[in-house]
Symmetry: C2
Subunit: 188 residues, 2 copies
């Protein structure tokens, strides 16, 4: 019975981001997002639990992608290389949404509560990566340190990617960030 | 005019932690904490803004200690060594409060909101360390990567310290954790 809705989620996401930028996250209501997208509030709630979830629904998919990529790496791969490979795969996917990611980051940076949510999602990614490394037989504390190092690499690369004006893509920045971590920690 | 209060803060802290363990953080009221400590609610609020702050007031002092230690390191110190030295100083201080730290961590682990707060405090530590490294002339992304690497090292060392039954102290675990990060990221 429902109307045909071409990519309702995408329309809602775009509308929400526009409004968060124009009015601020706090000041935007679900009713306004639905209206801007030309959809009903009911449709909104079929896609998202609340207005915050519009910004974070991708985090679960990203985590699954990272975990499954680490899990599929050959046994011979060093833990840090398995993590780096997964981060590059995720980086390629995010690269396709660079403009969206930049706008989203501007909204998150403007709101402490959203910023905290982002930090918590990153920490969950770290725990999930440590868990999949342990399932691959990596012991503690190696598993946790490798996962946390991966998160540090990703965080810094992502920060450059959304901030800066260079044309380097995210997988490239991730590789450079890992190289930098290697030289930072190298014994002199 | 006020009564003589030997270490009111310490008594309140101890009373709060006991109650958080016995009843859970959510179920404990400020009135109960004050009563257990033999002090008034008014005295509680002279020391702490709310019952959550009892668990986190030390984070600000820890951050200042880390930042000032990094700032005082000789110019010749490599960034990662400056960060590691600061973490060991902080580790020595925490070592004196091991029993308290373990109990506190059990309370935090049992409450998702407190766990999130802890993650956010750790992220703030990372930002503050990156900032002091930049003031020492360390460029980006080296400053951020070094700081994030330091946080990864600290997080894993702290996790072992509050969890495990070994007799190794926190500064020792921090050194081992950094060595482990070095071998994890070493090119093979």
């Amino acid at each position: 019975m429902g109307r045909w809705e071409p990519n309702g989620r995408g329309r809602l996401e775009r509308a929400a981001l526009e409004l968060y930028q124009e009015r601020g996250f706090e000041q935007t209501t679900v009713a306004e997002i639905a209206k801007r997208a030309g959809l009903t509030e009911r449709t909104f709630f079929r896609h998202f639990a609340d207005k915050r979830e519009v910004l974070f629904w991708g985090a679960g998919a990203l985590q699954e992608l990272l975990v499954s990529t680490v899990a599929r790496m050959p046994d011979s791969a060093a833990p840090i290389d398995a993590v780096a490979a997964a981060l590059e795969v995720a980086g390629s996917l995010l690269q396709e949404r660079r403009e969206y990611s930049r706008k989203r980051q501007a909204v998150i940076a403007a709101n402490p509560e959203l910023h905290e949510r982002e930090l918590i999602k990153l920490a969950s990614l770290g725990s999930a990566m440590a868990e999949v490394l342990r399932r691959r037989g990596v012991r503690e504390p190696t598993a946790s340190l490798t996962a946390e190092a991966g998160i540090a690499v990703f965080k810094v690369a992502f920060g450059s990617w959304v901030d800066e004006t260079t044309s380097r893509d995210l997988p490239q920045l991730i590789r450079e960030s890992l190289d930098e971590l290697r030289s930072v920690t190298a014994r002199r």
